[in-house]
Amino acid sequence: MSCYETITSYAFRSIGYGERLLPKTDFTLCDQFVLIGSGMIWNVYFAVLALSLGFFFAVSLAVGRSSDNPIARIPAHAFIFVIRGSPLFIQFFLIYEAFVLIPKMGWGINLGFIEITVETKWLTKAWLGALITLFLNTAGYTANIFYGALLSIPKGDIEAALAIGMSKRQIFWRISFPTMLRLAWPSYTNEAIFLFHATALVFFSSFPAWRQEGDSLYYASYFADKTFNPFVPYPIIALYFICFTLLIIGLFGFVNKRLNRHIAKN
C-alpha cells in the first residue's frame, strides 16, 4: 500500500472514517505517522474544548474563592483543594466509575405527569466523560492561578477606580479582570501545556476506546505492542507533541503580547 493510500484510508480513522481494520502486519513508517497523527485529532479536541470551557468556570471559581461571602468561598476553596490535591489519573477512574454507576441507579426525573429517564449512557463514552474530567481538572488548576493573580493586583489601581466613582461591577470588568489575565497569563500558558499533555491519559486510563478509535498514544502503544519496537512509534508521538506544544506557546505568546501592549517595554 502506498503512502497516499494510507493517508486516504487512515487519516480520519480515529473519528470513525476510513478503513475499519487497523494494519496488522508490515507496519511502514507511513502507517505509524498517519495513524498516530489521526489520533492527535482527539488530543486537540479534548485540549481545545476543556481549555476554552474551563476558562469560564475557572474565572467564576477564582472570583468565588476571593469573595467575602462564605457560601461562594468555601465550595470554591474545597473544589480547588480536591482537584489540585489528587492525581488526574485517579480522577479519571473515579469519574468513570461514577458515570458507570449512574444508569444502574435508575436515574429518573419525575415531572408530575410524565417521567423522563435521562440518557446517561454517553457519559461513559470518552468524548463526553473524559472531557468533563479534563474540564473540571483544568478549571481547578486555572482557578488557583487566577486566584493568585487576583490577590496580586496592585491595591492602588482599585483605590483609584473607587476614587473616580466606578461601581463594583465596573471595577471588576475594567480593572481587576484584565489585570488578573495579564498577571496570570504566563502560568496559564504552562497549565495549557500540562493539560494538553494530560489528554494523552484519556484512553490509557479508564475510558475504553470504542471501535479502536483512540487518541495518539492509543495508536502509538498499539504499534509498540505489535512490533515490540518502542523506538519508532514513541519518538513519532513525541515529535507530534513537541510540535503542538510549540504551537500552544506561540498562540499564548501572541495573546500575551496583546494583553501587555499598553505596558512600557524596557
Partner: protein, 261 residues
Amino acid sequence: MSFYFSFVVVLSLLALTVPFILLFGFTGALAQRSGFAPIRWFGTIYTSMVRGVPDIIFFLFVPIAMDQGIEIIRHKIKCSDWSEPIRQGNDFVVCTAAKMPLSSSPQWVHETYGFMLATIAFAVVFGAFAANTIHGALAAVPKGQLETGAAFGMSPRQIFRRIHLPQMWVYALPGLSNLWMILIKASPLLFLLGVEDIVYWARELGGSKTARFAYPHGDWRFGYFLFLLVFYLFLTWISEKFFNRIMHRLSRGQNTAAGMS
C-alpha cells in the same frame, strides 16, 4: 493483604526516586552550566525534550527501551555464537541466557525488576524538571555573595561547595516542593507500567468479577477509588504543611521577602 502492601510499594517508589531525581537534576543543571558546548547542548536538549513531551510517553518508553537495551548487551556478551538477527520482523528475539530477568527466576525477581525500571523512568522524567529548577536556583544566588567568596581567596571549587550550593536551596525549594507534589500525583501511573500498585488492587478488589475471582459483592470500585482520592489528598496536604515549615526555616536571615521579617 496485597492491597495494603501496595501502599508500601507506592510510598517506597516515592522515597526511592527522590535521590535519583536529585542526582539527575544536578547532573542536568551542571551540564547546562558547563563551559564545554556539547555537554551544555546535551543538558539543554535533555531538559527541554522531557518537558515538551507528556510524561506518560516517557513512562511507557523508558522501561521498554531500557529492558531491550540490557537484553541486547547481555545477548552480545553471552551468546556471541547466535547468528540470527535480534529483530525478526515484528519479534524481538534474544537467547534464553540473555533474558532479563531469567525466565527461570522466581516471581519476586520479576516484580522487583519491573519496579526498578519504573523507578528509573520516573527519575529520568522528573530529573529533567528538577534540572530546570536547580539551574534557575543556581542562577538566582546573588552574585555579590559569590564575589565575596572570591575576595576571600576561595578556590572556585570552595565557592561552589561552601556558598553557591548551600545558598541555592532557598531558591530551589519552592520549585522542588512543587515537583514533589507533581511526583505524588504521577505515582498512580505506576499501574500502567505493570507494577501491582494501589490502582491495580483497587480495580481488582473493587470489581465484582475479575480475571481471577468472582466476588460476592457488587461493583465497589467507586468506593475504592474514592478512598484512593482521599489518601492522595491527605498525602499532598501533609507534604504542603511540611514544605511550608522547611521554607520558613530556610528563609531565616535570607535576603528575600520571606526572610526579612
